[in-house]
């Protein structure tokens, strides 16, 4: 694991990898959304509003997957003190918050024509809103650390505590009667017709690649910031 601890070595891999993730990701998302909007049949009850699924569902997955990654990175930061762990956790937080917000916004837009309301305070919607606020809290904590670039242990502890919300979001529709329907895609299979399933997977893969590219870009920016800070400190000492 410490093979990649050397930031120079990491940068050597991250720099060429970024466009390799970004451009296929953008193409996949555009292709999936074009296909989803123009080629996919109307749903039996929801009609064409079902198509917002191709943005809403990947955004929900990435919002939750983002915090899972952030929590793992926080554990690595606290236990192994890996130099890139805090940097990666902090790099995940902003796109994670963005996708959580995208999930809430698209869900709200989807809820109006299907359910008849923009918002209800059921278990799923409320726990997802909490995830968005957790992201904001983590970003604020990570930015508050005295040294730019490095992440405080408080932020890492917060990242681990916040992970409790992830299984709650996942189970909310099972534990509690809720306005939101139960999971369509489970380990047992999918109750989404293949006409919707394939563009959904393509879009989810595309958004995931973009997420990865953004995380790499943010990590590189933070490492550059740390270097600038170290250099300025040396100059101040001279």
């Amino acid at each position: 694991m410490h093979r990649f601890a050397n930031p120079a070595r990491f940068l050597g891999i991250a720099k060429p990898l970024t466009p390799l993730l970004l451009w296929p990701g953008i193409l996949l998302v555009l292709g999936a959304c074009w296909w989803g909007l123009t080629q996919v049949p109307a749903e039996r009850l929801q009609g064409h509003s079902v198509k917002i699924m191709f943005v809403h569902v990947p955004a929900a997955w990435l919002g939750m997957g983002g915090w899972t990654g952030l929590a793992i990175a926080s554990i690595v930061q606290l236990v192994w003190k890996h130099p890139l762990a805090g940097v990666s956790a902090r790099a995940i937080a902003v796109p994670g918050a963005l996708f959580a917000a995208l999930c809430l916004i698209t869900g709200s837009i989807w809820g109006r024509p299907t359910w008849g309301t923009w918002w209800v305070w059921d278990g799923r919607l409320t726990s997802m809103l909490i995830l968005f606020f957790l992201y904001l809290g983590y970003i604020a904590l990570a930015n508050a650390s005295s040294e730019k670039g490095s992440v405080s242990r408080t932020a890492a502890v917060f990242g681990i505590i916040g992970a409790v919300n992830i299984p709650i979001i996942n189970r909310s529709v099972v534990w509690w009667e809720s306005q939101h329907q139960k999971a369509s895609i489970t380990l047992g299979g999918s109750s989404i017709d293949s006409a919707y399933l394939w563009p959904l997977f393509a879009s989810a893969l595309g958004f995931t690649l973009i997420f990865g590219a953004v995380v790499l870009m943010r990590m590189r920016a933070q490492l550059a910031e740390i270097r600038i800070e170290a250099r300025m400190r040396r100059m101040a000492e001279d």
């Binding site: 606290l78 359910w115 299984p167 009667e177």
Partner: protein, 149 residues
């Protein structure tokens, strides 16, 4: 023991305690955090008439009946074990169809009928194209057109 192992054990213990606490809290909230009563939980809940509650379930097939005034609709909400008669005055949502889900805000009246102030449609986890709906009999085979008749 190396400090690294101490930290690892501490982190694992903390994570286990946190998730345990979260699960305990969630299971304690099981009733309170439910967004609505189902007919079965409502039958056991002993809710006094006039108290604002929410009822959710499936609209029983063949139960929707509209009054001559055009806006009052009577129907039966069912879950696996029980049924509940509902009356609602107003415009029903597009996805309000027999055999599909509904969540109603309202209160019980003295006669045991649920008087709804507002209706929300609740769709299930199945996504089926419109042209396949007659083939796939495992899911609700109703479309908006059946209500328009």
């Amino acid at each position: 023991m190396k400090p690294k192992h101490q930290r690892l054990i501490l982190a694992i213990l903390a994570l286990a305690a946190l998730i345990g606490a979260g699960l305990l809290a969630a299971s304690a909230l099981r009733e309170e955090a439910s967004y609505f009563y189902t007919p079965a939980t409502l039958a056991n809940a002993d809710v006094e008439p006039g108290k604002a509650i929410r009822l959710g379930g499936m609209v029983q097939k063949g139960s929707v009946r509209r009054d001559a005034d055009g806006i009052t609709v009577h129907f039966i909400v069912q879950d696996r074990d029980a049924t509940q008669a509902v009356v609602y005055k107003g415009i029903t949502p597009d996805l309000f169809v027999e055999g599909s889900g509904v969540v109603a805000d309202g209160r019980m009246d003295a006669k045991g009928v649920f008087v709804a102030d507002s209706l929300l449609a609740k769709h299930d986890e199945n996504y089926v194209p419109r042209e396949l709906k007659d083939i796939d009999m495992s899911t609700a085979e109703h479309s908006k057109d059946t209500l328009a008749e």
